[in-house]
């Protein structure tokens, strides 16, 4: 049984590896901008662009790219499905049709509609336009953004990590049916579950109510933590650095503590007892703004900013290899870059946990404030 499981795991890994290499590897972008070096990232501006591009979401899953001997730019990775809600309804195609172009030069025609990708955003061209026209500030003049429900790299990472979480934790759950103490990987997961329950949920929400919210908090904690860590791997996920994802998480927390708020909680927010009547409306505005805007906003921005900043710093330090090559020499620049990026990555491992902890802890705290009985007044 164990051998079978292991071989299945191994086969899956091999399949993914083969798929990523064979399926997409030789998909060179022939129509790419005519740079002489084939799109290598060497100069400072190119590095900046590359980092900013990485921080954004992407429509393909690319591990790295290189220039072949014939001068062609090749990408290693695999395409992801593009799902658009255009003016004509739903349109789907694979992202490989853009040929890694990201500045609107490649036009994809589907169902009589033309699409172009500019800075990781997909635009629908006006019906009479053949190519994208840009104004001085590099905004497209004859195209508009479409609602993009694509399975982007972030969505893909979300699904992947979600699947892993389901696999790991449901396995742990099944283990308890036959034994009291889990074995194997479950032995690592159990103390983490206990940690979230006993150190985050229980003290912040209170003994009486914590049970109801522990499931959500556990999901969020492991989701953020694992994705933060995945972002540090060469897979290059930046899911928790996507505003859309952190906003989504923050809004979940907002909805939960708004829906489960007790009467006392709302009373304290809208008509604060024990305060002069004239001040109460002012306080109500502040409290409402705090609960409905500032709290979720702080949650979403904190996570987004920390993770994005981490990615930018790590990538910038890696880029020292190229940018300081002239002044430090090849060995010096590479050594410095490796040293600095090694230590900053260690710090990022800590930050990955810390941000997951802070998000979960604050969510628990906000929920705890909302379900508190307010009996002490």
């Amino acid at each position: 049984m164990k051998i079978a499981q292991k071989s299945i795991k191994f086969l899956t890994i091999v399949a993914i590896a083969l798929f990523s290499i064979s399926g997409y590897a030789v998909d060179a972008d022939k129509n790419q901008d005519p740079k002489k070096d084939g799109g290598q990232v060497n100069t400072k501006t190119e590095v900046e662009e590359y980092i900013l591009h990485h921080i954004k979401d992407s429509h393909d899953f690319s591990l790295f790219s290189y220039t072949s001997d014939s001068g062609e730019r090749k990408h290693l990775g695999f395409p992801l499905p593009v799902i658009l809600w255009s003016s004509e309804g739903l349109v789907t195609f694979m992202s490989s049709e853009f040929h890694h172009n990201d500045d609107g030069h490649v036009i994809v025609e589907k169902d009589g509609l033309k699409f172009a990708k500019i800075h990781s955003k997909i635009y629908e061209l006006d019906s009479d336009a053949a190519t994208v026209a840009f104004d001085d500030t590099h905004h497209a003049t004859n195209a508009h953004k479409v609602l993009d429900f694509s399975i982007t790299k972030s969505a893909f990472g979300l699904i992947l990590i979600g699947a892993f979480m389901l696999l790991w934790f449901s396995k742990l759950a099944r283990q308890y049916k036959t034994k009291k103490v889990p074995t194997g990987f479950g032995r690592i997961l159990e103390p983490l579950v206990l940690y979230v329950r006993d150190e985050i949920a229980r003290p912040n929400i209170g003994e009486k109510h914590y049970r109801r919210f522990t499931g959500y908090l556990l999901t969020v904690f492991f989701f953020i933590w694992i994705l933060n860590l995945a972002g540090l791997t060469p897979l290059g996920f930046n899911v928790t650095g996507q505003l859309a994802v952190t906003a989504c998480l923050a809004i979940f927390t907002l909805v939960i503590y708004t829906v489960s708020g007790t009467k006392g909680y709302w009373m304290h927010m809208i008509w604060m007892p024990g305060v002069p009547v004239l001040i109460r409306p002012v306080l109500a505005i502040i409290e409402l703004a705090g609960a409905l805007v500032i709290k979720p906003f702080s949650l979403l921005v904190r996570l987004f900013a920390n993770i994005s900043a981490g990615h930018i710093v790590v990538m910038s330090l890696i880029a020292i290899m190229f940018t300081l090559q002239e002044s430090l020499g090849v060995v010096g620049a590479t050594g410095l870059s490796l040293l600095l990026s090694f230590f900053i990555t260690l710090i990022e491992v800590l930050v990955a946990f810390l941000q997951a902890y802070i998000f979960t802890m604050l969510s628990a705290l906000f929920i705890g404030m909302a379900v508190d009985d307010h009996k002490h007044h």
């Binding site: 979600g162 934790f169 308890y176 522990t214 499931g215 859309a244």
Partner: protein
């Protein structure tokens, strides 16, 4: 701020909302609920076991102290019994002594009384014998009609010599 808003992808927001909601629901159903239930079960099991062990220990202590109490009581009882026995023994001895003393006293008294009686009887007999003797002497004296006074005295002395006071 503008770049931030520009970077915000409503599509991804919708997609991740759906995916996350599904993930949360699935995780709660298939992972967290069974895990947390089993953990709580296990914890309460451990607590119960600890409590049971505690109770058992307390019971053991109680039993031990009960035993000690019993032993102590038994010892006290034994001591009391021994003391009683000793008392009874002493009492019996002293009673026996008293009784013996009483019996001896009466015996002595009786003996003394009988001795006195015997003495009186003996004395009476002596008196009677003396009287008889005196009469005999007087008889013989009278019978012999003694010529001289000296013969008379000799005769009395001779008779008296013959009479040994017994």
């Amino acid at each position: 701020m503008e770049t931030l808003l520009n970077d915000f992808s409503p599509g991804l927001f919708v997609v991740s909302t759906i995916l996350l909601l599904a993930l949360i629901a699935l995780m709660i159903k298939f992972a967290w609920k069974p895990i947390l239930n089993s953990l709580e079960e296990r914890e309460s099991g451990i607590n119960n076991a600890l409590e049971a062990a505690d109770n058992a220990r307390k019971e053991m202590q109680n039993l031990q102290s009960d035993n000690e109490q019993l032993v102590k009581e038994a010892r006290e009882e034994r001591d009391a019994m021994l003391k009683d026995a000793r008392d009874i023994k002493e009492k019996m001895i002293s009673e026996a002594k008293e009784e013996a003393k009483g019996v001896a006293t009466t015996l002595i008294e009786n003996a003394q009384a009988s001795i006195e009686q015997e003495k009186q009887a003996a004395l009476a007999e002596i008196k009677k014998s003396v009287a008889d003797l005196s009469i005999g002497i007087a008889e013989s004296v009278i019978k012999r009609e003694l010529a001289s006074k000296e013969d008379q005295l000799q005769l009395v002395e001779g008779i008296l010599k013959d009479v040994t006071l017994n």
